[in-house]
Amino acid sequence: MADKTLDAKGLNCPLPILRAKKTLKDVPAGGTLEVLATDPGSVADFAAFCRTTGNELVESTADNGVYRFLIKHVA
């Protein structure tokens, strides 16, 4: 499974991104971070975050109002 999981449910912009960035520091290069969020804006945000920082958005799914992002930490 993912090396780390971040529960950002109930948090609004920009907290999911800020918390993810902070948590990514503890994920080794090549490792993965799973983020759970309820903020609908986070879907576009995490895609943009990954494109800009070079991290890979491996998965982006939604299930019953909870969005799940699997991010691979590219050093």
Partner: protein, 168 residues
């Protein structure tokens, strides 16, 4: 890729001039600044005039509905704006501020304290306008630690080299 570019020549940079100090206006600069920093941007925030309120050690940010033509807050199941004659009454501003703070907490939006803390942690360069400090007779000791002082030329030098310059 770009995270290690933080101080490299390929790193993007941004400056924000922060001129307002009310609770609602505090959000755009801090959200943009912290998000940019999280995306590898080198951020400088220059606080001037009422923006200095956002650097006070103890934050006491207020919001007012007076003259705020677009302010329609959720109230009793609808979105309502009050006529200015009501917004002028003593206590209404304080009430609006409490309402906004409650909404912020309820919706999981970060507090300004938290965003400011994140900005400091992200090593965003914070510059306070020296002239405003003098003008309003504030002391540097009124502000949080770690704030540099500067003037327009200090800002201008940074802005000339930045990819994004915002005036908020």
């Amino acid at each position: 890729m770009s995270e290690t570019d933080q101080n490299g020549s390929n790193a993007k940079s941004m400056t924000i001039i922060v001129t307002k100090g009310s609770l609602d206006w505090a959000y755009p600069p801090f959200i943009l600044g912290t998000t940019a920093a999280a995306m590898g941007v080198d951020v400088t925030m220059f606080f001037t005039f009422y923006g200095l309120e956002l650097l006070k050690k103890k934050l006491d940010l207020q919001v007012t509905a007076l003259g705020n033509a677009a302010m329609k807050m959720p109230l009793a199941g609808m979105h309502m704006s009050m006529p200015n004659i009501v917004n002028m009454l003593p206590g209404v501003d304080a009430g609006a501020t409490v309402m906004m703070k409650n909404l912020i907490k309820k919706k999981g939006v970060a507090s300004i304290e938290e965003l400011r803390e994140a900005a400091i942690e992200a090593e965003i360069k914070i510059i306070a306008c020296q002239m405003t400090l003098d003008l309003f007779e504030y002391n540097k000791s009124d502000l949080i630690d770690g704030v540099a002082l500067g003037g327009a030329a200090t800002y201008m030098e940074k802005a000339l080299k930045s990819d994004i310059n915002l005036f908020i």
